[in-house]
Amino acid sequence: MLNFLLSRLLTFIPTFIGVTLISFSFIRVLPGDPIIVMAGERGMSEERYAALREQFGFDRPLISQYWDYMTGVLQGDLGNSFVTKKPVFDEFFTLFPATLELSICAMLFALLLGLPAGVIAAIHRGKFFDRTLMSTALIGYSMPIFWWALMLIIVFSGMLGWTPVSGRMSLMFYFDDVTGFMLIDSLLSGQKGAFASAVQHLILPTIVLGTIPLAVIARQTRSAMLEVLSEDYIRTAKAKGLPPSRVTYIHALRNALIPVVTVIGLLVGTLLAGAILTESIFSWPGIGKWMVDSIFRRDYPVVQGGLLLIAVMVMIVNLTVDVLYGFINPKIRKS
C-alpha cells in the first residue's frame, strides 16, 4: 500500500510541472494587458505604466518570470492577487469550501439517483422504464449546462418562486464561517430558518451541476449491471435460493460498482469544469466564479495559482479513488 502511494506520488511530479507550464502560458496567451485592465477607464501615464510593468516584472523575459514563479510555488507561495493584494493561497481556501459543498451535493445527487436508476434499468432491460431512462440520460448528458440552468431558473425561481436565483444564503441571516460549509454553519449558528435557506440556495445549482454525472453514472451502472447479471456467480447466488433483491443489490451491484467507481473518479474533473459555469450562473461564491472573474481581470497570479490548486485537488481525489478501488476490488487489494 505504501509502495503504491509513493509510486503514485512520483507520477504527480511531471503532471504538476505540466500544469504550472500550461497555466503560466495560457493566461499570457490571452490578449489584454493586466495593467491596462487595472487602470480601467481612466487610463494611465506612460511613466506610471512602465513603473508598474517593472514592479510586476513583465519587462523581463518569460523564462525568468516563470523561474521566479516556480521558486515561489516550491516555497508554498503562489503570489498575491493583483486586484485584492491578498495571497492567492488564502483566497483559494476561503472560497474552496463553497465549491466543495456544491460538488459534494451534486455528486450525492448523481449517485443517489443514478445508481438505483441504472440498476432498475438493467433489471428491466428493453422495457419502458429502461428506454425512457436511457434516452433521458442521453438528453441530460448532451444538454448545455447554461441552457439547462436558465430553464430551471425560469421555471422554479421565476414562475413558481420556490428557489432563490443566486448566492448561498439569504441576506436575512448573518453568521461567521466555521467550517465554510453553509449547511453546517447555518445549523451551528442556531438561527431559525438559516438551514432551510441554505438548502433552498443549493437545490438548483446541485441539480444543474449534478445532471451530467447523473446521466453518466446511470448509464455506466446499467451497462455494468447487465454484464454482471449474466455472470456464472449470479446463477450460483440464485441457485442458493437467495431472494432477487439480495442477488441484485448485494451480489451483482457489489461487482458492478467496480467500473462505476472508476467513472466517478473521472467525473471529478468534469464536475470542477461544470462548477465554473454553474457558479457563474448562480453567483455562487466558489473558486469557479473566482477563476472566471480573475480571467476577465487578467489577474495572472490568481489564474495560475487557482488552476494549479484545482489540478492538485483533482490529483488527490483520483488518488483517493484509486485507493478506494483497491478496497472494493479484492483482486487488486492483494497485489
Partner: protein, 325 residues
C-alpha cells in the same frame, strides 16, 4: 415415491432467429439415494434440462412438461418464492466452472454462510461452526483461515470443493453436479469425483452427475441416461449399458473410449450435434448414424421398451437373442 419425476420436459429459447428447442421431451425418474449419470455431447441440452428443473433459466426460455415433481411438490407453476425455499436447500446444484461460479467480491466464508442463514436461520456462531464443519467434510485444509479467502486466492479444485460445501450445506435430498470436473486437471478430477461419491454414501442424498465423460460414468453412477440433441436416447443401468448398448449413439460413445480402442486410431463420431438450423426430419441422430435407413431419415424414432433401455431408435442394436430369431 420418486424423489424427482420429470416427464416430457421441453425447453425452447426465443432467439433473434426464431425459437430453438434445446430440450425435447426429456424424462427422468429418480428415487431417494439414486446415483444417475446424464451423458451426452456438448450442446445436447444436459445443463438446460436441469437448469429448468432448478428454475434458473433466463426469461427467454419457455418450459413445458407433463410432470415435474420434486419430493411431493409440483414444480410446475410453483411461485418463485416457494421455489426459492426448495433450491439451495433440498435440491442444489454445482456447476462446470468453479473459478467463475463464486462471487469474486466476497469471501468464500460469506458465500457459504449466506445459505445457512437464509434456509436454516442459524445465528452467527452456529453459521461459523457449521461452515468449518462443511469445509472439513469436503477436505479443505485449515478451514478457519480458508473461510476468509477470496475465490481468486484459491485453486480451481479448492473452489469446486467450496461449491460442493455450499451445495450440501443444508443437507439436500438431491445434488445436481453439472460437469463438476470438466474444468479441472486430471488428478483433481479424480479427487472431486471421489469426494462426491463418498459424500453421497455418507448422506444418502440422490446424485445427478452430468458429464460427457463415459469414464466418469463407469466409476460413479448406477443409472445412466444418454442425451442427444435435447432428447433422451437411452437409459439403462451402468453395467448393462456398458455391456449391451441398444442405441447406436451409445455404442458409438463407448467405442470412442480410449480403453476400448481396438485399433491404433481412436474411433470418433463424425459430425456434430444438430443446432437450430440443421435439425433433421426423422431420427435426430440419423445423419451421423452408420445404420441409418430412409425410414430413419424421414420418421422420428419411437421409444423402445425398458428392456431395450428406452432406446429411441428404429433399429435398436444388441437385441436379446430370442428376438433376433
Amino acid at each position: 415415491m420418486a424423489l424427482l419425476e420429470v416427464r416430457n420436459l421441453t425447453v425452447e429459447f426465443a432467439t433473434t432467429s426464431g425459437t430453438f428447442r434445446a430440450v425435447d421431451g426429456f424424462d427422468l425418474s429418480l428415487d431417494p439415494g439414486d446415483v444417475t449419470a446424464i451423458v451426452g455431447e456438448s450442446g445436447s441440452g444436459k445443463s438446460v434440462a436441469f437448469l429448468a428443473v432448478m428454475g434458473l433459466l433466463p426469461w427467454t426460455a419457455t418450459i413445458t412438461s407433463d410432470v415435474m415433481m420434486f419430493d411431493g411438490t409440483d414444480l410446475n407453476g410453483l411461485s418463485p418464492a416457494r421455489r426459492r425455499q426448495i433450491i439451495g436447500k433440498d435440491m442444489s446444484m454445482i456447476f462446470q466452472e468453479p473459478m467463475t461460479s463464486l462471487n469474486p467480491c466476497f469471501t468464500v466464508g460469506f458465500q457459504i454462510k449466506e445459505a445457512l442463514r437464509i434456509h436454516l436461520g442459524m445465528n452467527r456462531s452456529e453459521r461459523h461452526a457449521r461452515a468449518i464443519e462443511l469445509f472439513e467434510q469436503v477436505g479443505i485444509p485449515a478451514p478457519e483461515t480458508r473461510l476468509r479467502s477470496f475465490p481468486h486466492q484459491m485453486s480451481g479444485g479448492m473452489n469446486q470443493r467450496v461449491m460442493i460445501a455450499m451445495a450440501i450445506a443444508c443437507k439436500p435430498k438431491l445434488l445436481i453436479a453439472d460437469e463438476p470436473t470438466t474444468a479441472l486437471d486430471v488428478t483433481i478430477q479424480a479427487q472431486i469425483l471421489e469426494l462426491l461419491t463418498s459424500l453421497q454414501e455418507e448422506t444418502g442424498m440422490a446424485l445427478v452427475l452430468i458429464t460427457h465423460d463415459m469414464g466418469v460414468v463407469a466409476e460413479t453412477a448406477e443409472q445412466v441416461s444418454v442425451q442427444y440433441a435435447g432428447q433422451k436416447v437411452e437409459q439403462q443401468d451402468v453395467r448393462a449399458l456398458f455391456s449391451t448398448p441398444h442405441h447406436p449413439y451409445t455404442a458409438a460413445l463407448l467405442a470412442a473410449l480410449p480403453e476400448r480402442a481396438v485399433s491404433k486410431h481412436l474411433p470418433t463420431i463424425p459430425g456434430v450435434v444438430p443446432g437450430q438450423f440443421d435439425r433433421p426430419d426423422g431420427c435426430l441422430f440419423s445423419p451421423r448414424c452408420q445404420f441409418a435407413t430412409d425410414l430413419c431419415r424421414t420418421q422420428p424414432a419411437p421409444v423402445a421398451t425398458p428392456e431395450l433401455g428406452y432406446s429411441r431408435c428404429h433399429y435398436p442394436i444388441n437385441l436379446p437373442v430370442e428376438e433376433v430369431v
